[in-house]
C-alpha cells in the first residue's frame, strides 16, 4: 500500500474505533435462531423509518465533524479535498464497522446530487445547500425519471416556463424517486424548449421539496413495500438562482449526475443479504429441508457459490487496487452486474429447495422469509441502470465497441 493511503487508512480506523463497534458476522448462524428476515428493501413502519433517518443524519454529522463527511469535496464547503480513491477506501473500511445505514442520505444525495450541485449550481445554492447536505441536515432526491422517460432520460416531459417575476413554474410528474418523502431538496430535469432536439431543450433545477405544489405519493412495489415515490409538480415556483447550468443546457447537468451514479455502485455483502450467499447458511438450509443429497440442487449450489466467491475475489482485487492508490477498472461495473445475478440465483435456488414452503407460510423459521428476497430480485436488474444499459457501458467504455448509430434527434445535438 502506498504510504499516504496507509496513513489515511490508519486515520479512518482510529476514527471508527473511537466511535463504533465492528460489524457482527451475519453469515454465521444457528438454524432456527435469531432474525430470519431476508428483506432486501426496507419496509419499515413509519416510526421506525423516521428513527432510521434520524440515526443516519446523526452518523453523517459525526463523520462531518471528524473530517469524513465529504472526502472528495472542496474545503470551502466542508470537504476534505482528497481523491475518489480515498473515498472508496473509506467506504471499504467503514463497511467492516457497525455504523448506521446512511443510504437515505448518501446514495443519491451525497453521492450523485452533491457533486452535480458543486459542478453546475449558482453560488447562493452552493452556499446554502452543500454544507447542509454533507452535515446531514438536508436530504436530496433525484427528480429525473418519469413515466415516459426511464432509460431514455432525455425524453422528460415535465414543463418549466418562465413566470412573470423571472421565476420558473414547473408542472409534471416524476416517478421512482427514492427518499423523496424525507428530502428537503430535489434535482429536477424539466423541458424548457419543446421545439429543440430532445437533448437540447432540457433545464435542471433544484426544487425545495416544501414548495407549494410539490406532492409526494408513495409508490408500492411488487414486494408490497414502498421504497420509491411518485412526485407530482403542480405550478411549483422555483427562483432562477435555483437553476443549474444554462437554460436548455440541462443535459450536461444530467450527465454529471449519471456519471456519479455509476461511481456509486453498492458494495456487496452488507446486511442480511450477505446471508443469501453464505455457504454456511445455504448448507444449513439444505440440511433443514432434507435436500442435502439432491444431486441437481447440489450442482446448482456449486455454480451459485462459484459465482458468489469469484465476485468476492473481484471485489478483493478492486479493494487492493484502491489501497495502492489505483482506480479499479471494469471490476466495479462487473461487480454490480454480478451482485444482482448472484442474489437472483440464490433466491431461486433456495425457494426451489424449499418447494411448497415458499408458496405459503407454514410459520417455520427461515423458510417463507426468503420470498422477501425473491420478490426484490427483479428490481436488481433494473435499478441504477438496467442490465442492458450496464452492458452497453461495459461494451462501449471498457471494450471500445462502437455506439449504436445515433437517432435523428441525437445526431442534431452533435457539435
Amino acid at each position: 500500500m502506498r504510504q499516504d493511503m496507509q496513513d489515511f487508512a490508519a486515520e479512518v480506523r482510529r476514527f471508527l474505533d473511537a466511535h463504533v463497534a465492528k460489524t457482527p458476522d451475519r453469515t454465521a448462524l444457528t438454524w432456527g435462531e435469531g432474525d430470519d428476515s431476508m428483506a432486501y428493501f426496507s419496509s419499515l413502519p413509519p416510526e421506525e423509518e423516521r428513527e432510521q433517518v434520524r440515526r443516519a443524519r446523526e452518523w453523517q454529522r459525526i463523520r462531518h465533524e471528524n473530517g469524513f463527511g465529504w472526502i472528495t469535496g472542496p474545503q470551502e464547503y466542508g470537504g476534505r479535498g482528497l481523491t475518489p480513491v480515498h473515498d472508496l477506501l473509506y467506504d471499504a473500511i467503514e463497511s467492516e464497522y457497525d455504523v448506521a445505514d446512511t443510504g437515505v442520505l448518501g446514495v443519491v444525495g451525497l453521492g450523485m446530487i452533491g457533486p452535480t450541485i458543486l459542478a453546475h449550481a449558482q453560488s447562493p445554492v452552493k452556499d446554502r445547500w452543500l454544507p447542509a447536505m454533507y452535515r446531514g441536515d438536508a436530504i436530496a432526491c433525484q427528480l429525473f425519471s418519469e413515466p415516459g422517460a426511464g432509460s431514455d432520460l432525455a425524453s422528460v416531459a415535465t414543463r418549466a416556463v418562465r413566470g412573470s417575476g423571472g421565476e420558473w413554474v414547473l408542472n409534471g410528474q416524476k416517478v421512482w424517486t427514492s427518499v423523496a418523502q424525507h428530502s428537503q431538496i430535489g434535482l429536477a430535469l424539466t423541458r424548457t424548449n419543446p421545439e429543440a432536439p430532445k437533448h437540447r431543450g432540457i433545464t435542471a433545477f433544484l426544487v425545495p421539496m416544501d414548495a407549494p405544489g410539490v406532492e409526494v405519493r408513495p409508490l408500492r412495489q411488487m414486494t408490497g413495500g414502498a421504497d420509491f415515490n411518485e412526485v407530482f409538480l403542480t405550478d411549483v415556483r422555483v427562483p432562477d438562482d435555483h437553476r443549474l447550468g444554462e437554460v436548455d443546457g440541462g443535459w450536461t447537468v444530467a450527465l454529471t449526475t449519471l456519471m456519479n451514479e455509476r461511481a456509486t455502485v453498492g458494495s456487496e455483502g452488507a446486511g442480511p443479504v450477505a446471508a443469501a450467499l453464505s455457504p454456511d447458511r445455504l448448507s444449513a438450509l439444505m440440511r433443514a429441508t432434507w435436500t442435502w443429497d439432491d444431486r441437481a440442487l447440489r450442482a446448482r449450489l456449486a455454480e451459485l457459490l462459484v459465482d458468489a466467491l469469484a465476485t468476492e475475489h473481484l471485489n478483493a482485487r478492486a479493494l487492493r487496487k484502491l489501497r495502492s492508490g489505483v482506480s479499479p477498472g471494469a471490476e466495479m461495473s462487473v461487480s454490480k452486474l454480478m451482485y444482482g445475478q448472484n442474489l437472483t440465483r440464490a433466491a431461486h435456488f433456495v425457494t426451489d429447495a424449499l418447494g411448497p414452503r415458499a408458496i405459503a407460510d407454514t410459520g417455520q423459521w427461515g423458510t417463507y422469509a426468503w420470498t422477501e428476497l425473491l420478490l426484490a430480485t427483479p428490481a436488481l436488474r433494473i435499478l441504477g441502470g438496467t442490465e442492458e444499459i450496464m452492458k452497453n457501458i461495459l461494451a462501449e467504455r471498457v471494450l471500445g465497441l462502437p455506439k449504436e448509430p445515433a437517432t435523428t434527434a441525437a445526431k442534431e445535438v452533435r457539435p
Binding site: L394, A395, E396, P402
Partner: protein, 371 residues
C-alpha cells in the same frame, strides 16, 4: 518472494514478447501436427533467456524462488498464445508433485534439471476412466529389494507422456496410493500418443511392465500429495484458461469493431455488444478467481483449497463461454479450420474436462466448503 505489480507487468510483457516471436499461430499449427509437439530449441531459450522452468522453484534447487502468482502470469501468457511447450506438465504437474511430496532427496535429484530446462517431466495419475482421484488408481507397485520398486499397470491422459524425461506415477502399494519416479528410458515402459481433442496439448497412454521405479515421499502418501497437487495444478490451469479466455474476448472485440454488415460495424449492434459484455464479465471473474487463488497459495492461506476449486470452476466456464462466443461473433469464418478460433475452443473444452469436469469439481468445491 513476491514480485510487486510493476515487476509482474514486466514479467508479463517479456513473456508475451517472447511468445509473439516464438509461438505465433503458424508455429502452433506446425507443432501441433509434429512429434514431439514442442520445439526443444524454443524450450531451451525459454529456460536460458527467461528462466521460466525454474521461476517458481525454490532457490536451493536452482530455481528463482517465486511462487504461483508469478507462475500464473507466465501460464496466462502461455494459455493466451496456445504455446506448445512442456511447461504445464513439467513445471505445474511434476515439479509441484515433487514439492508436495516433501522428499528432499527426490527434489535434489530432479528439480535442478527441471529448473535449468534440461529435464522435462510429467505426472501420470489417471487411467482409462480419466479420474484424477488416487482412490481410483489400479496400477500397482511391488518392492524389488534394496528399496527399489517395480510398476505394473497402465496410465492414460498423460500430458507430454511420450516426451517427458521424468515420469511421476501414482501407483498402489499395500499402504495405499503412493508416488513413484520413473525414467522414460526405463525398460518395460512403452508410450503411445493418444489422439486428442486439443492437438496443442499432447497426451499419451503409458504401459508399465515391471518398470523399475523409485518411491517419492512416504509410502501410502499418494492421496495427501495428490490433494495438494490438484489444488496447485487447478490454480495453474485456471491461469492458463483465464489467459485463453482473455485472448478470445480480444479477438472478438477486434473483429466486431472492423467487420461491417448492414452498413455498420457489427459491434454497434446491441446483440453483439451484449455478447462481448457477457464475455468480459466472465473474463474479469476468471482473472480475479485465478489470481486470488494463486495469491492465497503463496500465502499458504487456509482459504487456498476453496479458492483453487472456485478458480478451476470459474475459469473452466469462462474459457468455454469465451471460446464459444468468439466463434459466434466471427460468424461463418469462425468455424473454419483456417481460423484460430477452433484451437481455443478445443483447448477450452479439453482443459475444462482434464481433471474430471464440472460434476467432479463442483463436488470438490462443496466438499471443501463442508457442504
Amino acid at each position: 518472494m513476491t514480485a510487486d505489480e510493476s515487476a509482474l507487468r514486466e514479467l508479463r510483457s517479456s513473456v508475451r514478447e517472447f511468445l509473439e516471436d516464438k509461438s505465433p499461430e503458424e508455429a502452433v499449427r506446425k507443432l501441433m501436427e509434429s512429434e514431439p509437439r514442442f520445439d526443444p530449441a524454443v524450450w531451451a531459450q525459454a529456460a536460458d533467456q527467461l528462466r521460466l522452468p525454474g521461476l517458481a522453484l525454490p532457490e536451493e534447487y536452482g530455481g528463482d524462488g517465486f511462487g504461483m502468482v508469478e507462475l500464473g502470469v507466465v501460464l496466462e501468457e502461455s494459455g493466451r498464445a496456445l504455446w506448445c511447450a512442456p511447461l504445464f506438465a513439467t513445471v505445474v504437474l511434476a515439479a509441484q508433485a515433487l514439492l508436495a511430496a516433501g522428499d528432499a532427496a527426490a527434489c535434489a535429484q530432479h528439480l535442478p534439471g527441471i529448473a535449468a530446462g534440461r529435464t522435462t517431466a510429467t505426472l501420470a495419475v489417471a487411467e482409462d476412466s480419466g479420474s484424477w482421484d488416487p482412490a481410483m488408481v489400479s496400477a500397482r507397485a511391488v518392492p524389488a529389494g534394496n528399496g527399489r520398486w517395480k510398476l505394473r499397470g497402465r496410465k492414460s491422459f498423460v500430458v507430454d507422456g511420450t516426451t517427458a524425461d521424468l515420469i511421476l506415477v501414482v501407483a498402489r502399494t499395500v499402504a495405499g496410493p503412493s508416488l513413484f519416479a520413473v525414467d522414460r528410458m526405463a525398460t518395460g515402459l512403452t508410450a503411445e500418443p493418444m489422439e486428442t481433442l486439443d492437438a496443442t496439448r499432447a497426451m499419451a497412454r503409458l504401459t508399465f511392465d515391471a518398470v523399475p521405479a523409485t518411491l517419492v515421499g512416504a509410502e501410502g502418501a499418494g492421496g495427501r500429495i495428490m490433494a495438494r497437487v490438484l489444488d496447485t495444478a487447478s490454480t495453474g490451469l485456471a491461469a492458463e484458461q483465464a489467459g485463453g479466455a482473455r485472448r478470445c474476448l480480444e479477438t472478438s472485440v477486434d473483429h466486431a469493431r472492423v467487420r461491417h454488415q448492414f452498413g455498420r460495424p457489427i459491434g454497434s449492434f446491441q446483440a453483439v455488444k451484449h455478447k462481448c459484455a457477457d464475455m468480459l464479465v466472465q473474463v474479469e471473474l476468471a482473472e480475479a478467481a485465478s489470481r486470488e487463488a494463486a495469491r492465497l497459495a503463496d500465502d499458504e492461506s487456509e482459504g487456498f483449497p476453496v479458492a483453487s476449486a472456485v478458480a478451476h470452476a470459474c475459469c473452466s466456464r469462462a474459457y468455454m463461454v469465451a471460446a464459444m462466443e468468439n466463434i459466434q461473433v466471427h460468424g461463418g469464418i469462425g468455424f473454419t479450420w483456417e481460423h484460430p478460433a477452433h484451437l481455443y475452443f478445443r483447448r477450452a473444452k479439453s482443459s475444462q474436462l482434464l481433471f474430471g469436469g464440472p460434476a467432479v469439481y463442483h463436488e470438490r468445491l462443496l466438499d471443501r466448503l463442508g457442504i
